[in-house]
């Protein structure tokens, strides 16, 4: 784990509250608005930032994140700009862990080694690469761990007893439990089932378990946060950004809409263990 990640989870444990992990798409709808949102996230209650890297063919994402990726690409966003955003963010905040999330092909074209070096240099703590299961660990996971970066893996309701050890091996930072079988932004998870699954995974690892996919409201976040070490919210933030746009462009309310929903869900997360 990177020091930032270790410190953050230690602090959360001390305060006895789950982490609030916020996902948004870098470059959506443009670089400046997106950086402003990112800079506002910690004050709005985000404990860990997941920064989306756009891909033309996001096979595990629902319509709202697909659309965000296309807006971002249309605005000319790419990996160098993603690193630039992180460097700009780190000028004021060297504590909030940043995890980049995306698909493998843009990384593969950039060059996996160069990607890892540049990510580390920019101040990124880890990565989630949706289409790299443990079977493909040689591609990026092993080199990332060797450089001291976190490789965060998704565990899902289809990850059975036999497969769980494989998913947990080489995972670092935290485990991202995908609470539904499906794409981002789909059905809401069932808190009781999530609690059981989290307990099940916890028996096999010391890593924190963050839960996401389908969490949209403060109430849901609060219910999930009772059992999990962290709650991930993405589509709800991305949708708020989309709803604020004026003809596809950022409006005066784009940044505040994103941060308002983060603040309101943060209250739910913070009250989870009251």
């Amino acid at each position: 784990m990177t020091q930032r990640m270790t410190d953050r989870f230690a602090k959360l444990a001390e305060e006895n509250r789950p982490a609030f992990v916020t996902y948004f798409m870098g470059g959506d709808p443009d670089y400046d608005s997106s950086l402003a949102i990112m800079k506002g996230l910690p004050a709005a209650g985000a404990d860990i930032i997941e920064l989306g890297m756009p891909f033309s063919d996001p096979m595990a994402d629902g319509p709202s994140i697909q659309a965000a990726g296309l807006r971002s690409l249309k605005g000319g966003h790419n990996l160098p700009k993603c690193f630039e955003m992180v460097r700009a963010f780190r000028e004021d905040d060297n504590e909030t862990p940043i995890v980049v999330m995306g698909y493998y092909n843009p990384i593969y074209q950039y060059g996996p080694e160069k990607f890892l070096d540049d990510a580390k240099e920019a101040g990124i703590d880890g990565m989630i690469v949706v289409d790299l299961p443990p079977e493909m660990d040689e591609e990026l996971c092993i080199p990332a761990l060797a450089k001291g970066l976190n490789f965060i893996r998704l565990a899902t309701p289809t990850t059975d007893e036999k497969r769980l050890p494989k998913v947990l091996s080489n995972t670092s930072g935290f485990v991202y439990y995908v609470s539904i079988t499906g794409i981002t932004g789909a059905a809401a998870p069932e808190p009781d089932q999530v609690a059981a699954s989290v307990a099940h995974i916890k028996a096999k690892t010391d890593l924190p378990i963050c839960v996401g996919f389908g969490v949209r409201t403060a109430e849901q976040a609060s219910a999930i946060g009772r059992a999990a070490d962290g709650v991930v919210v993405g589509s709800a933030i991305v949708s708020a950004i989309a709803d604020s746009l004026d003809d596809g462009q950022a409006s005066a309310t784009t940044v505040s809409s994103a941060l308002d929903i983060v603040s309101s869900i943060a209250e739910g997360v913070r009250s989870a263990r009251d």
Partner: protein, 405 residues
């Protein structure tokens, strides 16, 4: 790139599902258990005499196999060079080679206890074949089809509906085959337990490229026997069109270790390779990762996938099955582009010399035959995979030729 030649070109994929660096299993974790389950099921099925005999029975009595190997006498005379033979998979039930794969996979789905089928389609030939086997085996079937393709392949959309399938027009991206495949994968990620994803070409995560190839290899196995019966020897050259690569690998695979057989795959060159109006992933693309496998892809310098373009909806895919990528890099097979207008010319030549209306996909292979045969000796032999009939394309061809239908 050229690598050291392996002892056999037929051994792949390896245990990781890779052909050299190509192939693999680049999928979301939710799908991994399914992919592994499919791999197990297929390994068992291909050793099970009952499975194989049921497939052989259906191939014979339902599809009409073996398809004829036909000596195209007038075309040969017209070209004045090598003898041209057609492997006539366009005579199959449903009108193309796609049925070979669908029958194999529906039997697998049944074995695995799956109760719902999904499929992606471009030209609609695979969608029709999938809808056909779904009807034959009593499965509900949902076919994802790019909205643009729904428009340009309307006869096939209607055929699928007649067969009881539901069609979902995909508007994401450019609304073509790659977007339909994304949407099918999203469906599968959501409905992992009961759903069987019937992929239509020799691409996708392992084991699809392997099993689709195996089910399509009936084409090459038959052709290899038939030509020896008819000519007493193997051909000098075999040619097929490549979209995702299933009809081509089906013809090629049984010949891969026959040194004397030259193998040529034909990609859609669209309006030319200079711009982005083509689908020549092997000739003009670079290795990358999409739809579960590493393979040659049309993509921009930053790894964003580009839309292909071709007059033939069935070749309109920015990727290619991973085994073809490997066969290209090892140098065993050669891949060349054919432009839209060359394919259109070839289409018309075949109509008039042989009385066969071909699909636009094999018309690309035919255009390459038309270039090569005259350069070869009269005692040389070419086999071309005539993998689909052209009924579905008459509107497209009419429009391209400026004819009012």
């Amino acid at each position: 790139m050229s690598m050291q030649a392996p002892n056999s070109f037929k051994m792949g994929p390896d245990n990781e599902g890779q052909f050299g660096i190509f192939g693999g299993r680049f999928v979301a974790e939710t799908l991994m258990p399914n992919i592994l389950e499919l791999d197990e099921a297929y390994k068992a099925a291909k050793k099970d005499p009952e499975f194989l005999s049921e497939l052989a029975y259906l191939n014979k009595h339902y599809t009409g196999r073996p398809s004829p190997l036909y000596f195209a006498e007038r075309l040969t005379a017209h070209l004045g060079g090598a003898k041209v033979y057609f492997k006539r998979d366009e005579l199959n039930h449903t009108g193309s080679h796609k049925i070979n794969n669908c029958l194999g996979q529906i039997l697998l789905a049944k074995r695995m206890g799956k109760t719902r089928l999904i499929a992606e389609t471009g030209a609609g030939q695979h969608g029709v074949a999938a809808a056909t086997v779904a009807a034959r085996f009593g499965y509900p079937c949902l076919v994802y089809m790019g909205a643009k393709d729904v428009g340009r392949q309307s006869p096939n959309v209607f055929r699928m509906k007649l067969l009881g399938a539901e069609i979902e027009a995909v508007t994401a991206g450019a609304g073509t085959l790659k977007d339909a495949m994304n949407e099918a994968l999203r469906d599968w990620v959501t409905n992992v337990k009961d759903t069987y994803y019937l992929i239509g070409t020799a691409a996708g995560p392992h084991p699809y490229p392997e099993l689709v190839r195996d089910f399509q290899s009936v084409i090459g196995k038959e052709a290899r026997e038939q030509i020896q019966e008819m000519e007493g020897r193997l051909p000098d050259m075999i040619i097929a069109s490549v979209g995702g690569g299933s009809n081509a690998i089906g013809l090629f695979h049984p010949f891969l270790d026959d040194d004397g057989v030259q193998i040529v795959g034909v990609e859609a060159g669209g309006l030319g390779l200079e711009g982005d109006q083509h689908c020549a992933s092997l000739t003009a693309g670079r290795p990358g990762v999409l739809h579960g496998n590493r393979t040659y892809l049309l993509q921009d310098p930053e790894g964003q996938i580009e839309e292909g373009a071709s007059i033939s909806a069935g070749l309109d895919y920015p990727g290619i099955g991973p085994e073809h990528s490997w066969l290209k890099d090892t140098g065993r097979c050669e891949y060349v582009p054919i432009m839209d207008d060359e394919a259109l010319d070839a289409f018309q030549v075949l109509c008039r010399t042989e009385g066969i209306i071909p699909a636009l996909e094999p018309s690309h292979a035919l255009a390459e035959v038309i270039k090569r045969a005259p350069q070869m000796d009269k005692d040389q032999i070419i086999i071309m995979n005539l993998c689909g009939r052209g009924d579905k394309d008459v509107h497209t061809v009419g429009a391209a030729l400026g004819m009012e239908l």
